[in-house]
């Protein structure tokens, strides 16, 4: 498991509007990469382009290459559904399926694709995924209760369990802690530390301490002004970005002198 991603000169458009311009980067396997930057700088858009999720918005399209271990995600004939099976995603707000129990939520990725599983196999996947998301001990007695009945932090870990149940290569996280309280945030951050042993993780965050705590590499995105495209300013080892960044704008941003 776990693959690397290479992005080559990627432009992302919404209709005629160029949202992100000319991004190239390498994302190592089994590492945590953080995207930071001011609101509207295109970091979430870029993240969603990595598993073709941005396409669910009408008019969105890209130019450039996104290679998953050498395979172009945007090549002719590539099915975005297959891309997303390999590159999972966790969203800003926890979004468990309200009609499903905790157990069914975890198995949703498999069940929705009508994968045939024996009962014991399903139990095993559910337990392994929930353990992987550090949620097993909290919910093992209420696997058949609605998933929407859990607390916010638990719901978010349930969503992570759901994402890893399909055994993706890469896990994208779009501000996974912004709707959570500090204790739940800590639990998720710990979990990210554990998950990187098996997965390539990319996380978008507004919280610079969080980026410093969890990531190995950090990419700083910025935008010249409203209506201008977002750009990748600098990408380097996290410690370097936060101690001696190469670009002035990065330094201003991480030190809080932004704007």
């Amino acid at each position: 498991m776990s693959k690397r991603i290479d992005v080559g000169d990627l432009n992302i458009y919404y209709g005629d509007f160029l949202a992100v311009e000319g991004v190239s980067m390498e994302i190592e396997a089994r590492s945590v990469t953080a995207f930071i930057g001011p609101s509207g700088c295109g970091k979430s858009t870029f993240l969603r382009a990595l598993n073709r999720m941005h396409e669910v918005i009408p008019g969105a399209r890209v130019q450039g290459k996104v290679m998953l271990d050498g395979e172009d995600l945007y090549a002719y004939g590539v099915d975005p559904v297959n891309v997303r099976r390999q590159i999972g995603m966790v969203f800003q707000r926890p979004n468990p399926f309200p009609t499903m129990s905790v157990r069914d939520n975890v198995l949703a990725g498999l069940k929705l694709n009508s994968k045939r599983m024996s009962r014991s196999e399903a139990d095993e996947v559910a337990e392994r995924s929930l353990r992987g998301a550090n949620l097993w001990n909290e919910v093992k007695d209420r696997l058949d209760k609605p998933g929407a009945g859990l607390s916010g932090g638990q719901q978010q870990r349930l969503c992570i369990a759901r994402a890893i149940a399909v055994q993706p290569e890469v896990l994208l996280m779009d501000e996974p802690c912004s709707a959570l309280d500090p204790i739940s945030t800590l639990a998720i951050e710990d979990l990210i530390g554990e998950l990187k042993q098996n997965y390539t993780i990319v996380i978008v965050t507004h919280n610079m301490q969080q980026a410093a705590r969890v990531s190995d590499r950090t990419a700083f995105f910025n935008i010249a002004g409203t209506g201008k495209p977002g750009k990748l300013i600098e990408m380097d080892d996290t410690t370097k970005i936060f101690t001696k960044p190469g670009v002035k704008a990065t330094e201003d941003y991480v030190s809080g002198r932004f704007g």
């Binding site: 918005i57 009408p58 969105a60 399209r61 090549a75 002719y76 099915d79």
Partner: protein, 319 residues
């Protein structure tokens, strides 16, 4: 559950210049969904085509063969007149009452009571028209006959109340009253909805200026709700124009007369319901042509209503 304001996801769009394979499941499903939508358009086109083609012989036939012997126009205009008059009576009676109920529910009744009342109003809107018709002929007509007789006696100099009043009470006025009872719940439901949507801020601003309850309603609720209420009234009008059974059962039909308290007159819908089952030949075509006229009238009213309602931002009213 939260309402998202973003547009729902669009079908996966390939980047320009690259086209991938579409999953058969996805393709079949989207084709089925699109086909259902297109089918609706076909049905509506069918309604128009069939009505027009079946109505055509009326206009090609010799005027003397049409019912009444003087062509389609002179056959249909008394019916149009009756349709409009019955609907007008209904609106004149129902609108003030509906506004009263709506205001009572939204701003006067205790909170718990108003919820129950809202439910009752919805239920009344669901009672089948044939039941209202039966009620109109059996209960209302005998009970209001006296009033019509009084009108004919004392106000008979007004053409609308020329006597002799019908002895059964089955008159245009009665039919209009039954229609009023039927459209009352519709207008009430729409008005209540818009009154309840008045921003609390506006109401409180008015109250904070020392306004009495009525002044608050006049200053904030009515200006805010006006377009919605007008839309609701128009919806009620559309319903009253197209309503068949109440008139067919209640009215003792006959030729054109100005008097609303004696028997006579008829509406398009009722004429079709009464005559179509036993009609044949050209008469059938004539009735269908009359139906087409009704369709056009209600279409105009409904479009006007929707236009008025849609001028207000997001409004979830009658339908």
């Amino acid at each position: 559950m939260t309402t998202t304001t973003k547009a729902p996801p669009e079908a996966d769009q390939r980047p320009s210049g690259r086209r991938g394979s579409v999953r058969p499941g996805d393709r079949n499903f989207s084709i089925a969904a699109r086909a259902a939508g297109i089918l609706i358009l076909i049905v509506l086109a069918g309604v128009t085509v069939f009505l027009v083609s079946e109505a055509l012989p009326t206009f090609q036939a010799d005027p003397s063969e049409i019912e009444g012997g003087e062509g389609f126009f002179s056959y249909v205009w008394p019916l149009v007149f009756g349709t409009l008059v019955a609907a007008l009576i209904a609106l004149i009676v129902a609108t003030p009452l509906a506004l009263g109920i709506a205001l009572f529910i939204s701003h006067y009744a205790p909170r718990r009571m108003s919820q129950g009342l809202g439910y009752v109003v919805d239920l009344l809107a669901a009672i089948p028209s044939v039941v209202y018709g039966l009620w109109g002929i059996q209960w209302l007509a005998p009970n209001v006959q006296g009033a019509w007789a009084w009108l004919a006696e004392n106000l008979g100099f007004i053409p609308l109340f020329t006597g002799p009043a019908s002895a059964t009470g089955r008159t245009m006025m009665t039919a209009g009253l039954v229609l009023a009872v039927m459209v009352l719940p519709i207008i009430t439901a729409v008005s209540r909805e818009v009154f309840l949507q008045t921003p609390k801020l506006h109401e409180e601003a008015a109250l904070a200026l020392g306004a009495t309850r009525w002044e608050m309603i006049r200053m904030s609720v009515i200006p805010f709700g006006k377009p919605g209420v007008i839309g609701g009234v128009m919806l009620g009008l559309g319903r009253a124009l197209g309503e068949t059974m109440a008139v067919a059962m209640v009215l003792s039909t006959g030729g054109f007369t100005w008097s609303l308290v004696s028997s006579g007159n008829n509406t398009i819908a009722a004429e079709i319901a009464l005559d179509f089952p036993e009609s044949s030949g050209l008469k059938t075509n004539t009735l269908i042509a009359a139906g087409l006229v009704l369709f056009v009238i209600t279409l105009g009213v409904n479009m006007l209503a929707r236009w008025i309602v849609s001028r207000r931002k997001e409004f979830s009213g009658a339908n």
